[in-house]
Symmetry: C2
Subunit: 293 residues, 2 copies
Amino acid sequence: MDERDLKRVVRDVIGTGQTLDDCAVIPCSGGLLVATTDMLHETTDFPPGMTGWQIGWMSAAVTLSDIAGMGARPGIVLLAVGLDRGERLREILIGAKACCDSCGAELAGGDLDAHRELTIVSSGIGFADTGWVVRRQGAVPGDLICITGPLGRAQAALEGYADYSRALLEPIPRVREGTLLARAGVSSMMDISDGLVISLYDLLEANACGYSVDSGKLPLLEGVHAEKSREYSLFGGGDFELLFTCRPDLLPLPDVSCIPIGVVIPEQRVLVDGNDVPCQGYLHTWNHDDAGE
Amino acid sequence: MDERDLKRVVRDVIGTGQTLDDCAVIPCSGGLLVATTDMLHETTDFPPGMTGWQIGWMSAAVTLSDIAGMGARPGIVLLAVGLDRGERLREILIGAKACCDSCGAELAGGDLDAHRELTIVSSGIGFADTGWVVRRQGAVPGDLICITGPLGRAQAALEGYADYSRALLEPIPRVREGTLLARAGVSSMMDISDGLVISLYDLLEANACGYSVDSGKLPLLEGVHAEKSREYSLFGGGDFELLFTCRPDLLPLPDVSCIPIGVVIPEQRVLVDGNDVPCQGYLHTWNHDDAGE
Protein backbone atom coordinates (compact mmCIF):
# COMPACT_ATOMS: atom_id res chain seq x y z
CA MET A 1 0.00 0.00 0.00
CA ASP A 2 1.38 3.42 -0.84
CA GLU A 3 0.75 6.63 1.05
CA ARG A 4 -2.25 7.47 -1.10
CA ASP A 5 -3.92 4.12 -0.30
CA LEU A 6 -3.28 4.67 3.40
CA LYS A 7 -4.80 8.15 3.28
CA ARG A 8 -7.87 6.67 1.61
CA VAL A 9 -8.21 4.15 4.46
CA VAL A 10 -8.02 6.97 7.01
CA ARG A 11 -10.70 8.96 5.23
CA ASP A 12 -12.89 5.88 4.80
CA VAL A 13 -12.83 5.24 8.53
CA ILE A 14 -12.78 8.66 10.14
CA GLY A 15 -14.03 10.94 7.36
CA THR A 16 -12.43 13.94 5.66
CA GLY A 17 -13.62 16.70 7.98
CA GLN A 18 -10.60 16.64 10.27
CA THR A 19 -7.96 15.17 7.98
CA LEU A 20 -7.50 17.87 5.32
CA ASP A 21 -5.65 20.37 7.51
CA ASP A 22 -2.40 20.54 9.48
CA CYS A 23 -4.45 20.18 12.68
CA ALA A 24 -7.81 18.89 13.85
CA VAL A 25 -10.09 21.74 14.92
CA ILE A 26 -12.40 21.49 17.95
CA PRO A 27 -14.81 24.12 19.25
CA CYS A 28 -14.08 24.96 22.88
CA SER A 29 -16.14 27.43 24.95
CA GLY A 30 -16.35 30.29 22.50
CA GLY A 31 -13.02 29.64 20.80
CA LEU A 32 -11.28 26.95 18.87
CA LEU A 33 -8.71 24.36 19.78
CA VAL A 34 -6.34 22.94 17.21
CA ALA A 35 -4.53 19.66 17.85
CA THR A 36 -1.86 17.77 15.97
CA THR A 37 0.51 14.83 16.36
CA ASP A 38 3.68 13.85 14.48
CA MET A 39 5.80 10.73 14.57
CA LEU A 40 9.54 10.96 13.97
CA HIS A 41 12.07 8.18 14.20
CA GLU A 42 15.75 7.72 13.84
CA THR A 43 16.06 5.94 10.49
CA THR A 44 13.94 8.39 8.53
CA ASP A 45 13.91 11.68 10.42
CA PHE A 46 17.12 12.18 12.33
CA PRO A 47 20.17 12.49 10.05
CA PRO A 48 23.39 11.00 11.40
CA GLY A 49 25.26 13.55 13.45
CA MET A 50 22.11 15.28 14.65
CA THR A 51 22.56 15.95 18.36
CA GLY A 52 20.06 14.96 21.02
CA TRP A 53 19.29 18.65 21.54
CA GLN A 54 18.51 19.03 17.83
CA ILE A 55 16.39 15.85 17.84
CA GLY A 56 14.35 17.34 20.67
CA TRP A 57 14.12 20.74 18.99
CA MET A 58 13.02 19.14 15.71
CA SER A 59 10.41 16.96 17.44
CA ALA A 60 8.73 19.97 19.03
CA ALA A 61 9.21 22.10 15.91
CA VAL A 62 7.20 19.83 13.57
CA THR A 63 4.18 20.09 15.84
CA LEU A 64 4.55 23.81 16.52
CA SER A 65 4.86 24.36 12.76
CA ASP A 66 1.55 22.55 12.19
CA ILE A 67 -0.09 24.82 14.76
CA ALA A 68 1.51 27.84 13.04
CA GLY A 69 0.08 26.59 9.75
CA MET A 70 -3.43 27.06 11.16
CA GLY A 71 -2.64 30.55 12.44
CA ALA A 72 -3.18 29.42 16.04
CA ARG A 73 -1.26 30.25 19.23
CA PRO A 74 0.51 27.17 20.59
CA GLY A 75 -0.46 26.13 24.11
CA ILE A 76 1.26 22.90 25.06
CA VAL A 77 3.37 20.17 23.55
CA LEU A 78 3.49 16.57 24.83
CA LEU A 79 6.29 14.21 23.87
CA ALA A 80 6.01 10.43 23.76
CA VAL A 81 9.60 9.20 23.63
CA GLY A 82 10.56 5.63 22.81
CA LEU A 83 14.21 5.46 23.87
CA ASP A 84 16.85 3.09 22.59
CA ARG A 85 19.23 4.44 25.29
CA GLY A 86 18.07 6.25 28.41
CA GLU A 87 21.12 8.51 28.32
CA ARG A 88 19.67 10.32 25.33
CA LEU A 89 16.61 11.62 27.17
CA ARG A 90 18.01 14.71 28.89
CA GLU A 91 19.37 16.45 25.80
CA ILE A 92 16.25 15.59 23.82
CA LEU A 93 14.01 17.17 26.45
CA ILE A 94 16.22 20.24 26.79
CA GLY A 95 16.10 20.75 23.02
CA ALA A 96 12.34 20.25 22.89
CA LYS A 97 11.83 22.67 25.75
CA ALA A 98 14.02 25.30 24.07
CA CYS A 99 11.89 25.08 20.94
CA CYS A 100 8.66 25.29 22.95
CA ASP A 101 10.00 28.27 24.93
CA SER A 102 10.93 30.07 21.72
CA CYS A 103 7.31 29.80 20.57
CA GLY A 104 5.60 30.60 23.87
CA ALA A 105 4.45 27.00 24.32
CA GLU A 106 4.72 24.81 27.41
CA LEU A 107 6.40 21.39 27.25
CA ALA A 108 3.84 19.74 29.50
CA GLY A 109 4.88 16.11 29.82
CA GLY A 110 4.30 13.00 27.81
CA ASP A 111 5.17 9.34 27.98
CA LEU A 112 8.37 7.31 28.17
CA ASP A 113 8.94 3.90 26.69
CA ALA A 114 11.83 1.68 25.66
CA HIS A 115 12.09 1.14 21.92
CA ARG A 116 14.61 -0.55 19.67
CA GLU A 117 14.69 2.54 17.48
CA LEU A 118 14.53 6.07 18.90
CA THR A 119 10.95 7.12 18.16
CA ILE A 120 9.41 10.43 19.20
CA VAL A 121 5.83 11.51 18.81
CA SER A 122 5.07 15.11 19.62
CA SER A 123 1.51 16.25 20.04
CA GLY A 124 0.42 19.82 20.43
CA ILE A 125 -2.58 21.94 21.24
CA GLY A 126 -3.10 25.48 20.05
CA PHE A 127 -5.78 28.10 20.56
CA ALA A 128 -7.56 30.48 18.24
CA ASP A 129 -10.57 32.74 18.37
CA THR A 130 -13.51 31.48 16.35
CA GLY A 131 -13.12 32.72 12.79
CA TRP A 132 -9.36 33.17 13.09
CA VAL A 133 -8.22 29.69 12.17
CA VAL A 134 -6.89 29.44 8.63
CA ARG A 135 -7.43 26.20 6.75
CA ARG A 136 -6.06 24.73 3.56
CA GLN A 137 -9.45 25.37 1.98
CA GLY A 138 -10.32 28.95 1.10
CA ALA A 139 -8.24 30.14 -1.87
CA VAL A 140 -10.01 31.86 -4.77
CA PRO A 141 -8.68 32.56 -8.27
CA GLY A 142 -6.79 35.82 -8.36
CA ASP A 143 -5.34 35.36 -4.87
CA LEU A 144 -1.58 35.60 -4.58
CA ILE A 145 0.44 32.54 -3.55
CA CYS A 146 3.03 33.55 -0.94
CA ILE A 147 5.71 32.07 1.28
CA THR A 148 7.16 33.48 4.49
CA GLY A 149 10.82 32.94 3.58
CA PRO A 150 13.30 31.34 1.21
CA LEU A 151 12.82 27.63 0.52
CA GLY A 152 15.27 24.85 -0.28
CA ARG A 153 17.76 25.52 2.49
CA ALA A 154 17.15 22.22 4.31
CA GLN A 155 17.54 20.36 1.02
CA ALA A 156 20.73 22.29 0.24
CA ALA A 157 22.10 21.17 3.61
CA LEU A 158 21.26 17.58 2.76
CA GLU A 159 23.10 17.97 -0.53
CA GLY A 160 26.23 19.08 1.29
CA TYR A 161 25.93 22.88 1.56
CA ALA A 162 27.07 23.06 5.17
CA ASP A 163 26.15 26.76 5.48
CA TYR A 164 22.51 25.72 5.49
CA SER A 165 22.76 22.93 8.05
CA ARG A 166 21.04 24.93 10.75
CA ALA A 167 17.96 25.29 8.55
CA LEU A 168 17.86 21.50 8.32
CA LEU A 169 18.66 20.66 11.92
CA GLU A 170 17.06 23.50 13.88
CA PRO A 171 14.12 24.70 11.82
CA ILE A 172 12.16 27.65 13.22
CA PRO A 173 8.39 27.17 13.40
CA ARG A 174 6.72 30.28 11.96
CA VAL A 175 4.35 30.73 14.87
CA ARG A 176 4.55 34.52 15.02
CA GLU A 177 4.03 34.79 11.27
CA GLY A 178 1.12 32.32 11.36
CA THR A 179 -0.88 34.27 13.92
CA LEU A 180 -0.21 37.60 12.15
CA LEU A 181 -1.28 36.13 8.80
CA ALA A 182 -4.44 34.70 10.33
CA ARG A 183 -5.29 38.06 11.84
CA ALA A 184 -4.65 39.77 8.51
CA GLY A 185 -7.22 37.49 6.87
CA VAL A 186 -5.23 35.34 4.46
CA SER A 187 -7.53 32.98 2.55
CA SER A 188 -5.74 29.63 3.08
CA MET A 189 -2.55 28.41 4.71
CA MET A 190 -0.40 25.42 5.61
CA ASP A 191 3.17 24.78 6.64
CA ILE A 192 5.54 23.49 3.99
CA SER A 193 6.84 20.25 5.32
CA ASP A 194 7.50 17.97 2.37
CA GLY A 195 8.34 20.56 -0.26
CA LEU A 196 6.60 23.39 -2.11
CA VAL A 197 5.17 21.37 -5.00
CA ILE A 198 3.84 18.62 -2.74
CA SER A 199 2.26 21.29 -0.54
CA LEU A 200 0.60 22.92 -3.54
CA TYR A 201 -0.91 19.53 -4.36
CA ASP A 202 -2.13 19.31 -0.77
CA LEU A 203 -3.85 22.68 -1.25
CA LEU A 204 -5.26 21.49 -4.59
CA GLU A 205 -6.95 18.61 -2.79
CA ALA A 206 -8.79 21.02 -0.49
CA ASN A 207 -9.82 23.63 -3.05
CA ALA A 208 -11.67 23.96 -6.35
CA CYS A 209 -8.89 26.02 -7.93
CA GLY A 210 -5.25 25.62 -8.99
CA TYR A 211 -1.84 27.16 -8.42
CA SER A 212 0.54 28.79 -10.86
CA VAL A 213 4.03 29.50 -9.55
CA ASP A 214 6.66 31.69 -11.19
CA SER A 215 9.94 30.04 -10.26
CA GLY A 216 11.78 33.28 -10.97
CA LYS A 217 10.17 34.71 -7.86
CA LEU A 218 11.64 32.04 -5.56
CA PRO A 219 14.54 33.61 -3.63
CA LEU A 220 17.89 32.23 -4.80
CA LEU A 221 20.05 30.50 -2.20
CA GLU A 222 23.36 32.24 -1.84
CA GLY A 223 26.28 30.02 -2.83
CA VAL A 224 24.05 27.52 -4.63
CA HIS A 225 23.89 27.39 -8.45
CA ALA A 226 20.68 29.06 -9.68
CA GLU A 227 19.29 25.92 -11.30
CA LYS A 228 19.94 23.82 -8.19
CA SER A 229 18.52 26.54 -5.98
CA ARG A 230 15.29 26.55 -7.99
CA GLU A 231 15.10 22.76 -7.84
CA TYR A 232 15.65 22.62 -4.07
CA SER A 233 13.07 25.36 -3.54
CA LEU A 234 10.41 23.57 -5.56
CA PHE A 235 11.00 19.99 -4.52
CA GLY A 236 13.15 19.98 -1.38
CA GLY A 237 11.64 19.01 1.97
CA GLY A 238 12.45 20.13 5.47
CA ASP A 239 11.61 23.83 5.20
CA PHE A 240 9.31 25.13 7.91
CA GLU A 241 8.08 28.23 6.10
CA LEU A 242 4.36 28.87 5.69
CA LEU A 243 2.59 28.72 2.35
CA PHE A 244 -0.51 30.90 2.07
CA THR A 245 -2.85 32.62 -0.34
CA CYS A 246 -4.37 36.08 0.02
CA ARG A 247 -6.05 38.90 -1.84
CA PRO A 248 -3.40 41.00 -3.63
CA ASP A 249 -4.48 44.16 -1.79
CA LEU A 250 -3.59 42.57 1.56
CA LEU A 251 0.13 43.00 0.91
CA PRO A 252 2.48 44.30 2.14
CA LEU A 253 1.89 43.26 5.73
CA PRO A 254 3.83 44.95 8.49
CA ASP A 255 6.05 42.62 10.55
CA VAL A 256 5.75 39.56 8.28
CA SER A 257 8.00 38.65 5.43
CA CYS A 258 5.64 37.70 2.56
CA ILE A 259 7.16 36.64 -0.73
CA PRO A 260 4.61 36.40 -3.58
CA ILE A 261 5.57 33.51 -5.85
CA GLY A 262 2.50 33.03 -8.01
CA VAL A 263 -1.22 33.26 -8.40
CA VAL A 264 -4.30 31.12 -7.78
CA ILE A 265 -5.95 30.06 -11.07
CA PRO A 266 -9.42 28.69 -11.85
CA GLU A 267 -8.12 25.41 -13.38
CA GLN A 268 -7.34 22.61 -10.92
CA ARG A 269 -3.68 22.27 -11.87
CA VAL A 270 -0.30 22.97 -10.37
CA LEU A 271 1.82 24.94 -12.85
CA VAL A 272 5.42 26.09 -12.58
CA ASP A 273 6.37 28.67 -15.21
CA GLY A 274 3.22 27.73 -17.13
CA ASN A 275 3.89 23.99 -17.23
CA ASP A 276 2.17 21.24 -15.31
CA VAL A 277 4.48 19.84 -12.66
CA PRO A 278 4.12 16.37 -11.14
CA CYS A 279 3.39 15.86 -7.44
CA GLN A 280 6.86 15.00 -6.22
CA GLY A 281 9.50 15.86 -3.69
CA TYR A 282 12.91 14.56 -2.80
CA LEU A 283 13.12 11.40 -0.84
CA HIS A 284 14.92 11.79 2.42
CA THR A 285 18.51 11.09 1.55
CA TRP A 286 19.73 10.16 4.99
CA ASN A 287 17.86 6.86 5.17
CA HIS A 288 19.89 4.18 6.85
CA ASP A 289 20.02 0.81 5.18
CA ASP A 290 16.95 -1.08 6.31
CA ALA A 291 17.96 -4.29 4.54
CA GLY A 292 17.97 -7.36 6.72
CA GLU A 293 15.47 -6.02 9.21
CA MET B 1 19.16 4.12 33.52
CA ASP B 2 16.04 2.74 35.10
CA GLU B 3 12.56 4.21 34.96
CA ARG B 4 13.13 6.14 38.16
CA ASP B 5 16.25 7.82 36.73
CA LEU B 6 14.35 8.73 33.59
CA LYS B 7 11.50 10.25 35.56
CA ARG B 8 14.05 12.33 37.46
CA VAL B 9 15.43 13.64 34.18
CA VAL B 10 11.94 14.62 33.05
CA ARG B 11 11.25 16.47 36.27
CA ASP B 12 14.65 18.18 36.18
CA VAL B 13 13.94 19.56 32.74
CA ILE B 14 10.22 20.32 32.72
CA GLY B 15 9.34 20.47 36.42
CA THR B 16 6.87 18.47 38.45
CA GLY B 17 3.76 20.63 38.00
CA GLN B 18 2.46 18.76 34.97
CA THR B 19 4.06 15.36 35.43
CA LEU B 20 2.41 14.03 38.60
CA ASP B 21 -1.01 13.31 37.08
CA ASP B 22 -2.49 11.12 34.37
CA CYS B 23 -2.86 14.23 32.20
CA ALA B 24 -1.41 17.71 31.85
CA VAL B 25 -3.93 20.38 32.85
CA ILE B 26 -4.30 23.68 30.98
CA PRO B 27 -6.70 26.53 31.73
CA CYS B 28 -8.87 27.33 28.73
CA SER B 29 -11.44 30.14 28.64
CA GLY B 30 -13.20 29.50 31.93
CA GLY B 31 -12.67 25.76 31.98
CA LEU B 32 -9.85 23.25 31.97
CA LEU B 33 -8.30 21.14 29.28
CA VAL B 34 -6.57 17.89 30.09
CA ALA B 35 -4.14 16.33 27.63
CA THR B 36 -2.28 13.03 27.56
CA THR B 37 -0.19 10.88 25.25
CA ASP B 38 0.73 7.17 25.38
CA MET B 39 3.15 5.11 23.33
CA LEU B 40 2.41 1.46 22.64
CA HIS B 41 4.36 -0.91 20.47
CA GLU B 42 4.20 -4.45 19.33
CA THR B 43 6.93 -6.12 21.37
CA THR B 44 5.77 -4.85 24.73
CA ASP B 45 2.11 -3.91 24.45
CA PHE B 46 0.35 -6.11 21.91
CA PRO B 47 0.26 -9.78 22.93
CA PRO B 48 0.53 -12.29 20.08
CA GLY B 49 -2.91 -13.06 18.70
CA MET B 50 -4.26 -9.60 19.45
CA THR B 51 -6.26 -8.52 16.39
CA GLY B 52 -5.80 -5.23 14.58
CA TRP B 53 -9.18 -4.14 15.89
CA GLN B 54 -8.10 -4.87 19.45
CA ILE B 55 -4.78 -3.07 18.92
CA GLY B 56 -6.72 -0.01 17.79
CA TRP B 57 -9.19 -0.29 20.65
CA MET B 58 -6.38 -0.64 23.19
CA SER B 59 -4.48 2.33 21.75
CA ALA B 60 -7.46 4.63 22.17
CA ALA B 61 -8.42 3.07 25.51
CA VAL B 62 -5.14 3.88 27.28
CA THR B 63 -5.57 7.55 26.52
CA LEU B 64 -9.28 7.66 27.29
CA SER B 65 -8.55 5.93 30.59
CA ASP B 66 -6.03 8.65 31.49
CA ILE B 67 -8.69 11.28 30.77
CA ALA B 68 -11.17 9.28 32.87
CA GLY B 69 -8.61 9.23 35.67
CA MET B 70 -8.84 13.02 35.87
CA GLY B 71 -12.63 12.98 35.89
CA ALA B 72 -12.74 14.83 32.56
CA ARG B 73 -14.98 14.38 29.52
CA PRO B 74 -12.97 13.13 26.53
CA GLY B 75 -13.05 15.36 23.45
CA ILE B 76 -10.75 14.02 20.78
CA VAL B 77 -8.13 11.34 20.25
CA LEU B 78 -5.31 11.57 17.71
CA LEU B 79 -3.36 8.49 16.62
CA ALA B 80 0.19 8.53 15.30
CA VAL B 81 0.65 5.12 13.70
CA GLY B 82 4.04 3.74 12.65
CA LEU B 83 3.10 0.81 10.43
CA ASP B 84 5.17 -2.25 9.66
CA ARG B 85 2.56 -3.29 7.08
CA GLY B 86 0.02 -0.92 5.53
CA GLU B 87 -2.60 -3.64 5.47
CA ARG B 88 -2.95 -3.40 9.23
CA LEU B 89 -4.17 0.20 9.22
CA ARG B 90 -7.87 -0.25 8.49
CA GLU B 91 -8.66 -2.63 11.34
CA ILE B 92 -6.57 -0.59 13.76
CA LEU B 93 -8.48 2.58 12.92
CA ILE B 94 -11.86 0.83 13.09
CA GLY B 95 -11.00 -0.52 16.55
CA ALA B 96 -9.76 2.85 17.75
CA LYS B 97 -12.86 4.57 16.44
CA ALA B 98 -15.12 2.01 18.16
CA CYS B 99 -13.42 2.72 21.48
CA CYS B 100 -13.68 6.50 20.97
CA ASP B 101 -17.35 6.19 19.98
CA SER B 102 -18.07 4.16 23.12
CA CYS B 103 -16.72 7.01 25.24
CA GLY B 104 -18.26 9.91 23.35
CA ALA B 105 -14.89 10.98 21.92
CA GLU B 106 -14.00 11.84 18.33
CA LEU B 107 -11.13 10.09 16.54
CA ALA B 108 -9.91 13.25 14.86
CA GLY B 109 -6.89 12.23 12.80
CA GLY B 110 -3.22 11.82 13.48
CA ASP B 111 -0.11 10.92 11.58
CA LEU B 112 1.07 7.96 9.50
CA ASP B 113 4.59 6.68 9.22
CA ALA B 114 6.43 3.52 8.23
CA HIS B 115 8.15 1.77 11.12
CA ARG B 116 9.99 -1.52 11.50
CA GLU B 117 7.88 -2.30 14.55
CA LEU B 118 4.20 -1.42 14.78
CA THR B 119 4.19 1.64 17.07
CA ILE B 120 1.11 3.62 18.02
CA VAL B 121 0.96 6.80 20.02
CA SER B 122 -2.47 7.99 20.99
CA SER B 123 -2.96 11.49 22.32
CA GLY B 124 -6.16 12.80 23.79
CA ILE B 125 -7.79 15.98 24.95
CA GLY B 126 -10.52 16.16 27.57
CA PHE B 127 -12.58 18.93 29.08
CA ALA B 128 -13.61 19.76 32.62
CA ASP B 129 -15.13 22.69 34.43
CA THR B 130 -12.71 24.53 36.68
CA GLY B 131 -12.70 22.83 40.06
CA TRP B 132 -13.93 19.52 38.67
CA VAL B 133 -10.66 17.97 37.70
CA VAL B 134 -9.45 15.34 40.15
CA ARG B 135 -5.72 14.95 40.66
CA ARG B 136 -3.52 12.37 42.33
CA GLN B 137 -2.90 14.90 45.07
CA GLY B 138 -5.73 15.52 47.54
CA ALA B 139 -6.16 12.51 49.84
CA VAL B 140 -6.35 13.09 53.60
CA PRO B 141 -6.03 10.53 56.42
CA GLY B 142 -9.36 8.90 57.12
CA ASP B 143 -10.43 8.91 53.47
CA LEU B 144 -11.51 5.59 52.03
CA ILE B 145 -9.47 3.99 49.24
CA CYS B 146 -11.80 2.68 46.53
CA ILE B 147 -11.76 1.01 43.13
CA THR B 148 -14.47 1.00 40.46
CA GLY B 149 -14.38 -2.73 39.79
CA PRO B 150 -12.56 -6.03 40.31
CA LEU B 151 -8.83 -6.04 39.58
CA GLY B 152 -6.48 -8.75 38.32
CA ARG B 153 -8.56 -9.90 35.38
CA ALA B 154 -6.07 -8.79 32.72
CA GLN B 155 -3.28 -10.50 34.65
CA ALA B 156 -5.39 -13.65 34.99
CA ALA B 157 -5.82 -13.66 31.20
CA LEU B 158 -2.06 -13.37 30.78
CA GLU B 159 -1.66 -16.34 33.12
CA GLY B 160 -3.91 -18.45 30.94
CA TYR B 161 -7.42 -17.89 32.32
CA ALA B 162 -9.06 -17.50 28.94
CA ASP B 163 -12.37 -16.35 30.44
CA TYR B 164 -10.72 -13.05 31.25
CA SER B 165 -9.10 -12.43 27.88
CA ARG B 166 -11.54 -9.68 26.97
CA ALA B 167 -10.50 -7.71 30.05
CA LEU B 168 -6.93 -7.89 28.77
CA LEU B 169 -7.56 -7.25 25.08
CA GLU B 170 -10.55 -4.88 25.09
CA PRO B 171 -10.36 -2.92 28.34
CA ILE B 172 -13.14 -0.44 28.99
CA PRO B 173 -12.03 3.07 29.94
CA ARG B 174 -14.05 4.19 32.97
CA VAL B 175 -15.02 7.53 31.49
CA ARG B 176 -18.58 7.59 32.81
CA GLU B 177 -17.41 6.61 36.28
CA GLY B 178 -14.62 9.18 36.22
CA THR B 179 -16.91 12.12 35.49
CA LEU B 180 -19.45 10.98 38.10
CA LEU B 181 -16.74 10.58 40.74
CA ALA B 182 -15.35 14.03 39.95
CA ARG B 183 -18.80 15.56 40.29
CA ALA B 184 -19.32 13.74 43.59
CA GLY B 185 -16.15 15.34 44.95
CA VAL B 186 -13.73 12.46 45.49
CA SER B 187 -10.45 13.70 46.95
CA SER B 188 -7.91 12.12 44.57
CA MET B 189 -7.99 9.76 41.60
CA MET B 190 -5.98 8.01 38.90
CA ASP B 191 -6.46 5.11 36.54
CA ILE B 192 -4.83 1.83 37.48
CA SER B 193 -2.57 1.00 34.59
CA ASP B 194 0.41 -0.87 35.98
CA GLY B 195 -1.20 -2.54 38.96
CA LEU B 196 -2.80 -1.54 42.26
CA VAL B 197 0.34 -1.45 44.40
CA ILE B 198 2.33 0.53 41.84
CA SER B 199 -0.58 2.96 41.57
CA LEU B 200 -0.68 3.39 45.35
CA TYR B 201 3.00 4.29 45.21
CA ASP B 202 2.18 6.81 42.48
CA LEU B 203 -0.40 8.36 44.82
CA LEU B 204 2.13 8.29 47.67
CA GLU B 205 4.47 10.40 45.60
CA ALA B 206 1.83 13.12 45.22
CA ASN B 207 0.52 13.18 48.79
CA ALA B 208 1.73 13.64 52.34
CA CYS B 209 -0.13 10.54 53.57
CA GLY B 210 -0.11 6.78 53.08
CA TYR B 211 -2.37 3.93 52.03
CA SER B 212 -3.48 0.86 53.93
CA VAL B 213 -5.27 -1.82 51.91
CA ASP B 214 -7.23 -4.78 53.29
CA SER B 215 -6.68 -7.49 50.69
CA GLY B 216 -9.78 -9.32 51.98
CA LYS B 217 -11.85 -6.55 50.43
CA LEU B 218 -10.50 -7.12 46.92
CA PRO B 219 -13.17 -8.96 44.92
CA LEU B 220 -12.16 -12.55 44.20
CA LEU B 221 -11.92 -13.59 40.57
CA GLU B 222 -14.30 -16.41 39.83
CA GLY B 223 -12.49 -19.58 38.78
CA VAL B 224 -9.13 -18.37 40.08
CA HIS B 225 -7.64 -19.71 43.33
CA ALA B 226 -8.11 -17.16 46.12
CA GLU B 227 -4.39 -16.66 46.73
CA LYS B 228 -3.69 -16.16 43.03
CA SER B 229 -6.68 -13.87 42.73
CA ARG B 230 -5.37 -11.70 45.55
CA GLU B 231 -1.89 -11.62 43.99
CA TYR B 232 -3.19 -10.67 40.53
CA SER B 233 -5.38 -7.95 42.05
CA LEU B 234 -2.51 -6.39 43.97
CA PHE B 235 0.29 -6.69 41.45
CA GLY B 236 -1.23 -7.44 38.05
CA GLY B 237 -1.23 -4.79 35.33
CA GLY B 238 -3.63 -4.12 32.49
CA ASP B 239 -6.75 -3.26 34.48
CA PHE B 240 -8.44 -0.01 33.49
CA GLU B 241 -10.40 0.55 36.69
CA LEU B 242 -10.10 3.83 38.57
CA LEU B 243 -8.45 4.13 41.96
CA PHE B 244 -9.75 6.98 44.12
CA THR B 245 -10.02 8.28 47.66
CA CYS B 246 -13.01 9.96 49.24
CA ARG B 247 -14.61 10.91 52.55
CA PRO B 248 -16.45 7.88 53.98
CA ASP B 249 -19.77 9.76 54.03
CA LEU B 250 -19.65 10.18 50.25
CA LEU B 251 -20.55 6.51 49.70
CA PRO B 252 -22.62 4.89 48.37
CA LEU B 253 -22.80 6.80 45.09
CA PRO B 254 -25.71 6.21 42.75
CA ASP B 255 -24.74 4.84 39.33
CA VAL B 256 -21.09 4.09 40.14
CA SER B 257 -19.69 0.85 41.44
CA CYS B 258 -17.37 1.86 44.32
CA ILE B 259 -15.53 -0.88 46.16
CA PRO B 260 -13.80 0.32 49.38
CA ILE B 261 -10.54 -1.59 49.82
CA GLY B 262 -8.76 0.37 52.52
CA VAL B 263 -8.10 3.64 54.22
CA VAL B 264 -5.76 6.62 53.90
CA ILE B 265 -3.32 6.80 56.82
CA PRO B 266 -1.10 9.62 58.15
CA GLU B 267 2.19 7.69 57.70
CA GLN B 268 3.75 7.80 54.23
CA ARG B 269 3.69 4.06 53.65
CA VAL B 270 1.85 1.55 51.50
CA LEU B 271 0.47 -1.29 53.65
CA VAL B 272 -1.36 -4.44 52.65
CA ASP B 273 -2.99 -6.21 55.59
CA GLY B 274 -0.84 -4.13 57.92
CA ASN B 275 2.49 -4.96 56.30
CA ASP B 276 4.69 -2.74 54.16
CA VAL B 277 4.59 -3.89 50.58
CA PRO B 278 7.29 -3.13 48.00
CA CYS B 279 6.60 -1.03 44.90
CA GLN B 280 6.26 -3.79 42.36
CA GLY B 281 4.06 -5.18 39.65
CA TYR B 282 4.26 -8.02 37.20
CA LEU B 283 6.46 -7.56 34.21
CA HIS B 284 4.63 -7.92 30.94
CA THR B 285 4.86 -11.60 30.17
CA TRP B 286 4.30 -11.43 26.43
CA ASN B 287 7.65 -9.81 25.63
CA HIS B 288 9.06 -11.11 22.38
CA ASP B 289 12.71 -12.02 22.34
CA ASP B 290 14.67 -8.87 21.67
CA ALA B 291 18.01 -10.67 21.43
CA GLY B 292 20.02 -9.91 18.33
CA GLU B 293 18.51 -6.50 17.79
